[in-house]
Subunit: 414 residues, 2 copies
């Protein structure tokens, strides 16, 4: 089964928006065992959309076209698909009713151009709209199919999962269940994980099910994705369970979470379980650690706050660091102890380091010193060397310090 993608929108070609929809679709299709071998961007031009659809239909079994379903005059995906199907567009009053009710429900007046979204190529069926005003379309073309979805990501995601993926799988005649499990890791490079898991990868290459893939995701860590296929969902889950155990047996120390877990939700949950609040003292990251912890709704029951001690004498005066060089574990230790007192937190996390461009205190760019102070007075400290220029070094400092905290909390069971 092969499903190519056509992303429609002049703004994509002009670089005003980066097309991330086709990458997302490619990832989902690959996880479902469906090939996506060419993905195309075209502008809001009917002849070129038609040509792109015909060219993709000539090679693939199915095509997903994203965008151009809105109400304005340059939204012409419906017209282009009708031309490819060799049919007319029909007005569907029941779709118009739904759109009118959506506007009424938001207390807004519906302008007439919204009725364009109720036009459907004859012979096509609709994918009911749940998040936006435009419905999606399922458009048979001979024994192949074109799916049309809005370019708005959360509308597209929902329609893909609810209708397109099940339809593609039904067309492929594949009645098996398929699912993925993502192990979230930090602390080892992609090539390092690859090397450690080589035995398992070779074994899986031989069996072919589950498959294993790595996805490096910046300061979200490196994802190890297992995708399994079996007759029933229960069998899929038991396959995933078995191979997750195998993978964890080798690289478990680097796995901080599963699927939608993030480093900050994991750490916040661990603190919450242990009844601990936290304060953060930051220098090199300038507030990004606290910023990330508080990105999670509900962080306020755990996060007391923090101090950004960017200038050295703020460290000396507010956090009682001894005047002198500040990129070292001793400074981090004092900062971690003091932030507990300053914001009234149980646990203190502190970071000091060198993001560059120049060295500081004789320490190289990329140096990160961390400390964690606990209610019993004990303090753990550590130093790591991080790669990358200023922005990357600071971002990797955030996930590295939270992972350092995670390990320290693991050693102190809830």
């Amino acid at each position: 089964m092969r499903c190519d993608v056509v992303a429609v929108g002049t703004e994509l070609l002009l670089g005003q928006i980066i097309d991330s929809n086709s990458a997302w679709l490619g990832e989902q299709l690959a996880a479902a065992g469906i090939d996506s071998l060419q993905q195309v961007k075209v502008g809001d031009n009917q002849a070129r959309i038609v040509a792109a659809l015909r060219s993709r239909l000539a090679e693939a079994d199915a095509v997903i076209v994203c965008g151009g379903l809105g109400p304005t005059h340059d939204d012409i995906t419906r017209e282009a698909i009708a031309e490819v199907m060799g049919v007319e567009l029909e007005f569907h009053p029941e779709i118009a009713d739904v759109i009118a009710k959506m506007f009424a429900g938001r207390g807004r007046t519906m302008s007439d151009n919204n009725l364009r979204q109720a036009m459907v190529p004859k012979g096509a069926s609709i994918i009911e709209q749940k998040r936006g005003t435009a419905p999606g379309l399922v458009c048979p073309v001979g024994d192949k199919v074109v799916y049309a979805v809005p370019g708005v990501p959360w509308e597209l995601y929902e329609m893909f999962e609810r209708t397109i993926l099940p339809d593609l799988r039904a067309r492929s005649g594949d009645t098996s269940a398929i699912a993925s499990r993502v192990l979230r890791t930090w602390g080892e490079s992609e090539s390092g994980l690859n090397e450690k898991l080589q035995g398992i990868i070779d074994e899986l290459d031989g069996i072919g099910n589950p498959t294993l893939a790595f996805l490096a995701s910046g300061w979200e860590g490196i994802k190890v994705r297992l995708t399994a296929k079996a007759a029933t969902r229960a069998e899929v889950d038991s396959l995933l369970d078995a191979w997750e155990s195998r993978v964890r047996a080798v690289v478990g120390e680097f796995v901080f979470g599963v699927n939608d877990d993030t480093m900050e939700t994991v750490v916040l949950d661990m603190l919450r379980t242990r009844g601990l609040t936290i304060g953060v003292a930051e220098s090199v990251t300038g507030g990004l650690v606290a910023g990330r912890l508080t990105a999670t709704p509900g962080a306020s029951d755990v996060v007391r706050g923090g101090v950004v001690a960017y200038a050295s004498d703020v460290k000396f005066e507010l956090l009682n660091v001894t005047p002198g060089p500040v990129v070292n574990e001793e400074t981090a230790r004092t900062m971690a102890n003091e932030i507990r007192r300053v914001v009234g937190a149980d646990v203190g996390l502190a970071l000091t380091g060198v993001a560059g461009p120049a060295e500081q205190d004789g320490r190289k760019v990329g140096t990160l010193c961390m400390a964690i102070a606990f209610p019993d007075g004990s303090v753990e400290t550590g130093t790591v060397m991080l790669p990358g220029e200023r922005k990357m070094m600071r971002e990797l400092s955030v996930i590295s310090s939270l992972n350092f905290l995670r390990h320290a909390l693991l050693r102190r069971r809830a």
Copy 2:
């Protein structure tokens, strides 16, 4: 002149990397008056790369192919281009020498597969490599041309600007100068800017030179880009000067910078010029304002540090806020005054607001209260309503508060 783009890499189709190169190229090409009407992603498969190149060459005058020039066995862009040109690959010892010297210079051993990067289709010329090991290629195909560049963005950008763009413009026979100027704005929506500038846009549509485009860029603000063309660079600059003045006359209050300026560099420069240091007291943004100010190298001469007062009683205890509701200008005022004292800064910037998901203190999600305290004891406060879910509200709070500071500093001339 039309130049399409082919991005090569199976990882792009699998969604492991989002193709931002073709969007960047589209933006540069559009600014140079060159159409890019179809952009394609294909995997590391020679037959499909060849088919994509042929299909693009059938429609466009030129094609830029990104990626697949590296040393590994799945880097096959060179082979695919040679097939399209109908020629053999030739080994160029002088390229191999350059690569060998690069490895030696970094104290690393060069593995033999790096020599693949010295293979060049017969009849092609090279774009000397300045940032990576692989050279780019200029490959004539009849009266058309294929440019090959590495997929690594900073290698691609440099080769495009140094060689490809001048070559495209020479081929187009266009000897005029062309340049863009970007006005960075904040404080008005894209549709609001559009409406205010409608007269100028209509006038420019009539003349056709310069062109004007909007680029909404999240918490980087909304960019207004003028692109002009004339016989000489001096004439281009004078056109841009004239129309920049026209645009500023209408929406100047929203323009915070030009071209590579960012809100944080602008604000840091204004503080530096006035000899002022700053401290930041944050609640809703949890450290992101300080994080962004310190993203700029050299911020340490201006940024003293800050306090993240996330829990209300940290505001009460550390920043002397009167216990009670905390989302109001009075709380922001106290926080701004106190942060000056706590971190020893000349200027205090404070933010308190509601990022959601729930209301707080009877204030709606999206409420942002700000205050700025000055050395003379005066304080300015303000409240804005921001759109978006939690993440967007927090990010827009960062740029909104820095812009609030910018306006306050403007009123106090250096």
